[in-house]
Symmetry: D2
Subunit: 309 residues, 4 copies
Amino acid sequence: VSEVRRIAGGLWPAVLTPFEESGAPALDVFEQLVDTLIREGVDGLYLLGSTGQGPAMPAPQRKQVLERGVAVAAGRVPVMVHVGAISTRESIELAEHAASAGADAVSSVPPIYFPSGPDAVFEHYRRIAAATELPFYPYHHAMFGDAVLRDADYPRRLLEIPHIAGMKVTITDLYVFGVLERATAGRLRLFSGADELLCHAALSGAVGAIGTSYNLWGPACKAARSAIVGGDFDGARRFMAAFQSAIAEILATGDFYGFLRSAMKLKYDLDIGPGQSPSSFAKTSWSCEDVARLVSAVDEAVELPAGSS
Amino acid sequence: VSEVRRIAGGLWPAVLTPFEESGAPALDVFEQLVDTLIREGVDGLYLLGSTGQGPAMPAPQRKQVLERGVAVAAGRVPVMVHVGAISTRESIELAEHAASAGADAVSSVPPIYFPSGPDAVFEHYRRIAAATELPFYPYHHAMFGDAVLRDADYPRRLLEIPHIAGMKVTITDLYVFGVLERATAGRLRLFSGADELLCHAALSGAVGAIGTSYNLWGPACKAARSAIVGGDFDGARRFMAAFQSAIAEILATGDFYGFLRSAMKLKYDLDIGPGQSPSSFAKTSWSCEDVARLVSAVDEAVELPAGSS
Amino acid sequence: VSEVRRIAGGLWPAVLTPFEESGAPALDVFEQLVDTLIREGVDGLYLLGSTGQGPAMPAPQRKQVLERGVAVAAGRVPVMVHVGAISTRESIELAEHAASAGADAVSSVPPIYFPSGPDAVFEHYRRIAAATELPFYPYHHAMFGDAVLRDADYPRRLLEIPHIAGMKVTITDLYVFGVLERATAGRLRLFSGADELLCHAALSGAVGAIGTSYNLWGPACKAARSAIVGGDFDGARRFMAAFQSAIAEILATGDFYGFLRSAMKLKYDLDIGPGQSPSSFAKTSWSCEDVARLVSAVDEAVELPAGSS
Amino acid sequence: VSEVRRIAGGLWPAVLTPFEESGAPALDVFEQLVDTLIREGVDGLYLLGSTGQGPAMPAPQRKQVLERGVAVAAGRVPVMVHVGAISTRESIELAEHAASAGADAVSSVPPIYFPSGPDAVFEHYRRIAAATELPFYPYHHAMFGDAVLRDADYPRRLLEIPHIAGMKVTITDLYVFGVLERATAGRLRLFSGADELLCHAALSGAVGAIGTSYNLWGPACKAARSAIVGGDFDGARRFMAAFQSAIAEILATGDFYGFLRSAMKLKYDLDIGPGQSPSSFAKTSWSCEDVARLVSAVDEAVELPAGSS
């Protein structure tokens, strides 16, 4: 692996997958989006996760999107692909394709839909991870509960997964995050997935952040992360206050997807189209004023480093 | 619709889908299973739900299984098919196929995986239900929470779904079940999905039961349901004590699927094969003695009506 | 213990404690209430539980109420007293008083307020139970979670509590109830505390029911319980439909206490006064019409045995 | 109010209440503890909260402890007293006493034990707050759920409480904390109650921290809080890693109280005695080595400012 492709941490967007009205992925828009994100300085790309709606797509479409993503990234930043699916068999098929297509790492959520005890969860991870030589990153999300993370045996079992290199941890309890980080210290790179706690997570040892918001506010979020790590507490606190307030205002509408669609159009002139899951059904019509105000509120809450666009 | 195909209630197995080692559905075994269930007197068939592992299968396989099920049932009992999927688009495609293939009703869980507010849930139901002229049965499972069921507005919104005719309600709080039954009384047929409360649910107005256990213990469970409804309280209580104890013993092993596989082989000489989801990964090896003892404990806990096989 | 005082099961009101405006217990009203309940045929009295607001009262007042209750019962029915408190020390003091004052059994909730693991819960029970020779009945309520009830070790630890004779179990999952009943069968008398599942609980082996509603609707609820046990399924189902609907309508107002106060006044001409906990702060003013309608809806939903008042 | 007594924020121990074996508060030990804490530089004292076991004590004992605390503090630091109790009436009595005894602020948890809807919660707060002229600080703990904190109406209703000046917020989701801080900005001083997220909370706008750990590790925790606020990110992160690991190790034993008792004896030669609630029942016997190691691990994880003892 070339040096540039080593996964060190930093700010990674969970990249949106744009769709046509027909439901097919809009590959050309996706290509523009990926290129924009890289030029804006993100440290890596997380493809086809929940944000990218991978689990709602048929396997052939997921493969197409990954192939295009790898081609556009062209080694400029590492590409991690999420292969989680209801069927472990399908996840394995996607992981094998990812390896052959040139991805840099594989990630997966725990079993979806069918309730599975810890043994089944680890076996699910193990089968997917063992299917390739790529580094593996389990993706734990709060919707799967955090009891498992508190289990004293969890770090040991994690470390036994073949090729495990780190983890995407989307929880809000940063004590649990920090204890996990200590218990696996030096062996796993933990990415925080709770955008709304971007700076806080660094205090619990997160080496980076993977999230939806970084499609829209990548440079500002990267600057905020640099602020807290670099000792600018007041700057980081001010940014987090603005960022959390904006998120709260958007979530209160129940239409996060609609906001994102409007905002990506407004800021980058990219139409991500209709989403593929019920959570993206259009609910409201966002006014340009509200979208512009919220986009700016976050973008302007932190000072960008000199020389950034 | 012929009289025999009207959905009146009664005992419906959530039919298992047998699989080959390759992961393909074992259609011939499935055919034998369906035929056995009908000859044993079940009142209807619920295909491709969680038990049938529909959500873990690619759409083409789901269609194959449904077609075979309809062909084998051949009008002897009504067939309801579960079309729930992560993508609403896929559910619609499956519902349209079900109508053309001769199913008698369509059912779906709420949105899977992607967190969706009440508006998205009802829109998801509406789109699927509107896709065909078949009666629609939402399937609410406890894993989706029961807050929504307690919402005073829920019954009204349910009744606005096109073609809605009833519901599969898999919750353990039979007060919530009963209140929902009263609030929709006369307009929805509620099936209980909590096998372990089969007789209790009748007291809250359930017209029938849909569940996994009825693949294995159909006649006994049907007799128990008749016992409580017919006034044999002591018989029903004795059965429920044995049934709940058996379920508890099986669940304590964490390997319900493994038990089912062994038990179906032992009792009916049918091999349902390896499951498709992590919850069915083999965990234990069941001894013939334990399986035989548990199968009998339930089968013998109730008196079958004279003349039943 | 005389035969009449043996605790066999049946319908027990969790007796309301009437209060003066000053906050002191209204002992004369309490005396009339207890006498009324006994004359209406209840099978026992549960004093100073949550309904009786024992935990919100200073210890000396709790002792006064118990003494008056024992005096009025005068051996006609058994008296069980709840001694749960934040401090285990206070519970022990109340248990010792109960024994000397002539109560027939002692009951207690798990530790209140301070989070306590299973070891502390059992030690809390053990200390209270060991303080007297009276039969002890732990009171498990859903607000303490039901994970503990599902623990395979729970029945064994329960049975090690000194003098344990039964349990008040206020949960809505009657599978959990039934499994507990089987695991302790023949050794513990389980009372159901979920009024809204009065008849359902009998199917899981409850020998009786302890609840708030039986202050108001004792004869009807006793008749309903007799109906299901005696094989009148339709009668029991009709009653439960009316009872659950009435409860749902009352709970929807958020003012269960206000309803009870109005209804006890209307039906029995007893003023139970202002409650002592925030849950009883007056919220609404109930109209006589609504109260009368709801009282009758339940009272008239079941046929009382001939000869009952 | 003198300048020194104004409540500005900073590090406040939730002061332990030492007890005699008899269950009476050990007032002389308490006096030494309070004096030690003040000399070590804490910014205020929070008396008789959960740590101080106020809710497990009879009202007369709570008054004694408060009086002694105010006397020892002697105006050197502000004193806030927790008056939460099962009965609102008792909380009011304690608040009135606190005002007459010279406390600087009153605090209370929401209703204990009896389930209470939002209206009852706010009325409970209102009655307690209105009973005196002292600043009022509601104390929200995660065990009361955080749904209420997410309610869009919550900040407005909070601000309507008479004399409200701030809040103790013991939750781990610092997004929720931050959104509440913004929604009440400039009007409420929010103290964080999750010790294990001491530094993280500052990033969400906490002006201070109130917690159990500061009885034992006050200077170190104060130094860590200064580190993060002053821009020493690496120092704060190192401290939090050590602090979270120590907490995790202690919690894993299930005997936090036993550790505290041993540690306070070892470090300060103060015996806090047996606790009054089941959560403090002795479970383990801590070895001197383990206690000393854990105490040092936290104390030595941060550099104390020059001149501190």
